[in-house]
Amino acid sequence: MKLVAEFEKNLTPLDEKTNVALPFIVADDFDFLRFTASYSPKRLTDRERAKELILLNLTRDNGNEKDTEKWESFLPLVNLVTLSLDDEKGYRGACHRQAEYQELFLSESEASPGLLQGKITKGKWKAVLNVHAIVTENCTYKLKIEGGDKNER
């Protein structure tokens, strides 16, 4: 397998509710792409900070006293960053799930759940980090993209 691209991105609460594009070029004739995606930390372990964020959330979304009394039921607060993908022609799907570590596979005939199978075309691709929530001060996202031919599966 050949390394296509590798990224390490630091995310902060300022990145929340944004899409962070990670463009890469597929220059070879690959039968498949493999993505190894992870982010850390997942959980907010600071209980007081979690309480603060939860109460802000409840107040903003019309929560009442009954809701704020049970703030602990909303623990743990977690970071959520999902991955979506585009080739030159368009969308190749998204992997929207809580897992902070995902190994994903994409080829003409197969795709990990969430991704859309199809030819691995040469040209400009884009992995997009969909930053749904960052509750910790920092969150590091790592993405490795490798390409291979069918003999290397």
Partner: protein
């Protein structure tokens, strides 16, 4: 051709996003609940659709736009519309795009907690073009009964009807897994002529022909002819209603009901008439430029004096 009501689940997830079901397992579980149709609405992907092709359960293909500012259900678009650039101020343009792709839009769980408790779950989009929406979930979040959030959703739905928008109420289980399911026979009934198909499910939602229920099959006709979603002339009309527990008793035998009354609801959510659930017909004076929805109230095994079912509206010209 006669009109039938078909029990459906309009909001489902599989492991193509964050559900626990495979597509096959979802279909199997839906059949166990005697559902006749489902909508496959994984978060931000349609990758499960190819597995739904050979299903003998009717499946209307869709996607849940899980954005940062609200979750929107988009059904049966013929091309991809990008969810990622949807923000509160451009939602009208985005729903125009879905409409141009022949899709229909529904609001998912509008009063769910937002970020970070449930990312993007609260509806924060600034919608002007409500005519681009076919439906809104009024029972949702896996709690298909009357609670604070669902009460807010019903109130919001009423306010849209007051403004003249013909928008259907639905129940969306937001079905991810079996664990924690409440009111397992709860569903949305869709009115369709003849056999159910995916196109007819879509049409029922577009025409507002829905009934939301915690479990029982409940519906009405007006003057033996008009059904939910229809327009009729102002004046005196005869409502005939029916309560059928046969599916509910098979799917959820532990549940029991004591049906107490029907409430005819109109502008502002006002109850304009109350009728005993023991009757089967009643007369009502319907006023011009008003909408009317029927609610069924009573006791369930879990809660007394609660809303058990509500219908979409009929509209008075």
């Amino acid at each position: 051709m006669s009109v039938e009501l078909y029990p459906c689940e309009l909001h489902c997830h599989t492991l193509h996003s964050d559900g626990d079901f495979t597509v096959k397992e979802l279909i199997s579980e839906a059949k166990k609940r005697q559902l006749k149709g489902i909508c496959l609405t994984d978060h931000n992907t349609v990758s499960g659709h190819k597995e739904a092709l050979d299903s003998d359960l009717v499946i209307l293909k869709g996607i849940e736009w899980t954005t940062y500012f609200g979750h929107m259900l988009c059904l049966d678009s013929n091309s991809y519309v990008d969810w990622r650039n949807a923000v509160p101020d451009n939602i009208d343009k985005k729903t125009d795009e879905v409409k141009q792709a022949d899709g229909i839009c529904g609001v998912a769980h509008p009063f769910q907690w937002g970020t970070p408790i449930c990312t993007g779950g609260h509806w924060d989009f600034k919608v002007s073009k409500w005519e681009n929406f076919s439906y809104i979930e009024v029972f949702s979040e896996g709690e298909p009964y009357l609670n604070d959030k669902n009460a807010l959703a019903i109130e919001f739905w009423h306010s849209l009807l007051d403004k003249g928008y013909k928008i259907a109420p639905t129940m969306g289980r937001d079905w991810h897994r079996l664990k924690g399911n409440k009111n397992i026979s709860a569903c949305t009934y869709l009115y369709c002529e003849g056999e159910l198909t995916a196109d007819k499910m879509k049409q029922a939602l577009k025409e507002g022909r829905t009934v939301v229920t915690t479990g029982v099959k409940f519906h009405f006709t007006v003057d033996g002819n008009f059904i939910v979603g229809d327009s009729l002339k102002a004046g005196e009309h005869t409502f005939t209603f029916n309560i059928d527990t046969s599916r509910q008793k098979q799917v959820d035998p532990e549940e029991s009901y004591n049906f107490k009354e029907l409430r005819l609801i109109s502008k502002g959510g006002e109850c304009v008439k109350t009728v005993s659930a023991n009757k089967s017909t009643f007369e009502a004076e319907l006023l011009k430029d008003r909408w009317y929805s029927l609610e069924l109230w009573g006791d369930s095994g879990k809660k007394e004096n609660t809303l058990l079912a509500l219908t979409g509206a009929v509209y008075c010209k």
